[in-house]
Amino acid sequence: MSGFVLRRLGFAVVTLFAVLTIVFFIVRILPGDPAMVILGDQASMEAIEQLRARLGLDRPLPVQYIEFMAGVLTGDWGVSMVSGRPVIQEILKVLPSTLELTFVSLVLGAVIGIPLGVWSAVKRNRLPDYVTRLASLLGLSFPAFVSAVLLLLVFAIQLRWFPVISSGHGTTLGERLRDLALPAINLGLIMAAYITRVSRSSMLEVLGQDYVRTARAKGIEFATIIWRHCLRNSMIPVVTVVGLYLGILIGNSVLTEIVFNRPGLGKLIVGALNQRDYTMLQGMMVIYTFIVVAVNLATDLTYGLIDPRVKYK
């Protein structure tokens, strides 16, 4: 088992380096000189040269690469062009907020989605199945910002149950929950739609397997068959897919944070884009890379926990 864990860990580290390398190149292959882009084309040559030196762009590429990698690993991610504060500090300030939102949405999505998918599979081709399938299809057709806007319209503006603009700095649990509620519901319902579908198709596949026929021939009750024989097997693809969908979730969190005006990575990256904050942009990409690799690793390890066949690979 430990061989498996080590292998996955090693793989994650390699992927991390690979993606960071790509990040490095993407940011430097911007068409147009970044310094010129930042200062505008009216700037003088010396100003541009100065800025380039500050950004370390005048040094040869391999040196830049080593500096970049070293910086990432030691926590020196540069300094924001706009605020002057260290990039990593800005990111770490808002990271908990995004993580909180993502985590709660994921839990909400799983808690709703998995049982709904199982139920839909068991009642295949009957009314509950049709309704669930249609509803889940509708759910994932909403672009995250559309549903966010609609939620805002109905629950915050018309009904006034939730604040329109959340401060994100709530001190009491109640305040934090109120701030979290609408954004989490927004993302959570979208996640639930995806998870329902996967849970359903996975359970249907498991129900058709030979070992379920064996269990029925043993005279086991249907509920026990679902719970003990089917669930673990059907969760295997669900876990894999949840890891994949986390990417979608993070993407959608950007939109949700904007609509609900929540502090988080989303607002940070949009701000960086609009203000051409070059170092901040680079730092954003690095943090996203870390998150994605960590999620993939977690998915792989969970997979190994559920499926005994995996340990022997």
Binding site: G3, L6, R7, G10, N125, Q209, D210, Y211, R213, T214, A215, R216, A217, K218, G219, I220, E221, R228, H229, R232, N233, I306, D307, P308, R309, Y312
Partner: protein, 621 residues
């Protein structure tokens, strides 16, 4: 349809354990009800083994599922009466039926590889049945389950109890299934083709096991199979099914000696009996085979036609010479996926094939016979050895040269359902090799396609149809036609008839022998079915763990085997004659060894010793 033949026999004195009366099972397919089992009736007495025999589409499996009421309720319908010791099973509530399933009727299925839940330990799956039906506590159930493991002769039971199914071989998994089915000492065991997916030596062990357990527990057995040899080995009475109906029922000895119904007669003449060609050197075709018959049809059996004669010896000069062929596959493992060992699939194999000759490669799973065929064609790359075909050295050929050679050296594969591109019409598939190799074009090519179709017993119009519109036997004939398109001189037939029904097998074998006589084709016939091999082969080579252990003329090897693996193999083949039913002593639990070896492993030195005219046996030293 013709009327069923019920042999007059004394009814069992005691009331039957199972009575099936007028069973009719239908499925709704696309809005219409289709009857799959039509008015079937039979009894199974106490301590009796009844074999239910039929080919694909006969409805035998559905009969078993109907008895267990495992037919899906949404689009399945069961009518009639099914009585288990007097209780009508069809009238029970689902709850009561669940008590019957596993508690009073045990069932084992065909595919041991997928019938066990991969995420639960085998011990758990057995004790679950015990807890469910006998209300035992977890500890008691586990203890009893362990005892059952010993009963079904799973070696090292205590350690293997907590392991997962994927660490068990097919034969072992089937033993676990038997343990589950017998956990609650049922009155009736339903076995649905339990040994079809197993190697013949493993099959012999499992059959022996079932027989012994039946004696110990005193239960009845309903054994579903298509293999008449297995029927002869174990059945007291036989029920023959065809197209959903019962066409004959008789005690086993009577059925084999004097079959009543035309279908039974057809079935029995198509079944090869190992030993029937004893004393004959040459191959011989199957009698009474209608080339144009399809599955599900009752062909014309001409009882007055004479028994075919031995084929004349038309063999020519050696055309394929294989020397020291070795193929290995790397096994990855360890931390970084390094190679930690090799699968020694083919190890130092040598033989010669003459023009117009059939050499059979026989063996069980993992012996390397399929890989040998593929290595010769270089579909997999051998590690060492020489292959001389029509005087050319295939091993040194480039890809382009190989392509030219491949015209003359063709392969027919096992799976009739996968061998043809489902998206191409049959005509397009047959035309393609002709056009690709520049043999003909346009109308001339299409004429050749039509000729080929006719040669294998199909019609030119069939060219415009898709593979899924044909049956298994027809598809295999189309594949043969495709290989013939390039006018080969050697055909490698890799388990080409293994997936076909018994009577269709005979048809395809006869076709192959006809083509051999007409065109002087040589066959490398790869198969695990020794009885079929006996009829078609001039010479036989037996393989085990990648090596040839015995090779020689067919009569010599099969009638007078010298190597003890060959002897074991032949002894395990079930013979379709109840009077020859063997009493096997001593249950074996030998697994078939796997040819996976660590790095740097070298085989014990051995060589082939001549023990008769052209008859060689591998001896160590």
């Amino acid at each position: 349809m013709s009327t069923p033949v019920d042999a007059t026999m004394p009814q069992p004195a005691a009331s039957p354990v199972l009575r099936v009366a007028g069973l009719r099972t239908s499925f709704r397919v696309g809005g219409e009800w289709k009857t799959v089992v039509d008015d079937v009736s039979f009894d199974i007495g106490a301590r009796e083994t009844v074999a239910v025999v039929g080919e694909s589409g006969s409805g035998k499996s559905v009969t078993a599922l109907s008895i267990m009421r495992l037919v899906p309720e949404a689009n399945g319908r069961i009518e009639g009466r099914i009585e288990l010791e007097g209780t009508d099973l069809l009238a029970l509530t689902e709850e009561r039926m669940r008590d019957v399933r596993g508690g009073e009727i045990g069932m084992i299925f065909q595919e041991p590889m997928t019938s066990l839940n991969p995420v639960l330990t085998v011990g758990f799956q057995v004790s679950e049945a015990l807890r469910r039906h006998r209300g035992l506590s977890v500890a008691d159930a586990d203890r009893e389950a362990l005892r059952l493991f010993d009963l079904v002769r799973i070696p090292d039971a205590a350690r293997r109890f907590a392991e997962f199914p994927h660490t068990f071989s097919g034969g072992m998994r089937q033993r676990v299934m038997i343990a589950i089915a017998l956990a609650c000492r049922p009155k009736l065991l339903i076995a649905d083709e339990p040994t079809t997916a197993l190697d013949v030596t493993i099959q012999a062990q499992i059959l022996e096991l079932i027989r012994e357990l039946q004696r110990e527990i005193g239960m009845s057995v309903m054994f579903i199979t298509h293999d008449m040899g297995v029927v002869a080995e174990i059945a007291d009475r036989v029920v023959v099914m065809f197209r959903g109906e019962k066409v004959e029922e008789a005690p086993a000895s009577q059925l084999f000696a004097a079959p009543g119904h035309p279908y039974t007669r057809q079935l029995l003449t198509a079944v090869p009996k190992l030993g029937s060609l004893r004393g004959h050197d040459m191959p011989r075709r199957f009698p009474n085979v209608d080339l144009r018959r399809s599955e599900g049809e009752l062909g014309v059996v001409d009882a007055s036609a004479p028994e075919p004669e031995d084929e004349p010896d038309r063999r020519g000069a050696p055309i394929l010479e294989v020397g020291g062929l070795t193929t290995r596959f790397p096994v990855a493992g360890g931390l970084f996926g390094r190679t930690v060992g090799h699968v020694h699939a083919v190890e130092d194999v040598s033989f010669t094939l003459r023009a117009g000759e059939t050499l059979a490669l026989v063996g069980e799973s993992g012996c390397g016979k399929s890989t040998t065929g593929r290595s010769i064609l270089r579909l997999v790359e051998p590690a060492a050895g020489t292959v001389r075909f029509e005087g050319e050295d295939l091993m040194s050929h480039s890809k382009a040269e190989l392509r030219a050679v491949r015209r003359r050296l063709q392969m027919i594969f096992q799976d009739p359902y996968g061998s043809l591109n489902p998206r191409k019409t049959v005509g397009a598939a047959l035309r393609e090799p002709i056009v690709v190799h520049g043999i003909a074009e346009g109308a001339a090519a299409d004429r050749r396609v039509a000729e080929l179709l006719q040669r294998v017993g199909l019609e030119p119009e069939h060219a415009l149809r898709f593979p899924h519109e044909f049956s298994g036997g027809q598809r295999q004939r189309i594949c043969i036609a495709r290989s013939l398109a390039l006018q080969p001189s050697v055909l490698v037939a890799d388990e080409s008839v293994s997936a076909l029904d018994v009577s269709i097998k005979a048809q395809v074998i006869n076709l192959m022998m006809e083509l051999q006589a007409e065109m002087g084709l040589a066959y490398l016939f790869i198969s695990h079915d020794i009885a079929v091999v006996e009829r078609i082969s001039h010479r036989v080579a037996v393989m085990y763990l990648g090596e040839i252990v015995e090779i020689g003329p067919r009569a010599a090897v099969l009638d007078n085997p010298q190597h003890d693996y060959t002897q074991r193999l032949i002894a395990a083949v079930p013979v379709p004659d109840p009077s020859l039913r063997r009493q096997r002593g001593g249950l074996m639990t030998d697994e078939i060894k796997s040819p996976v070896r660590p790095l740097g492993w070298a085989p014990e030195p051995s060589r082939l010793v001549e023990v008769g005219p052209e008859h060689f046996v591998r001896r160590v030293g």
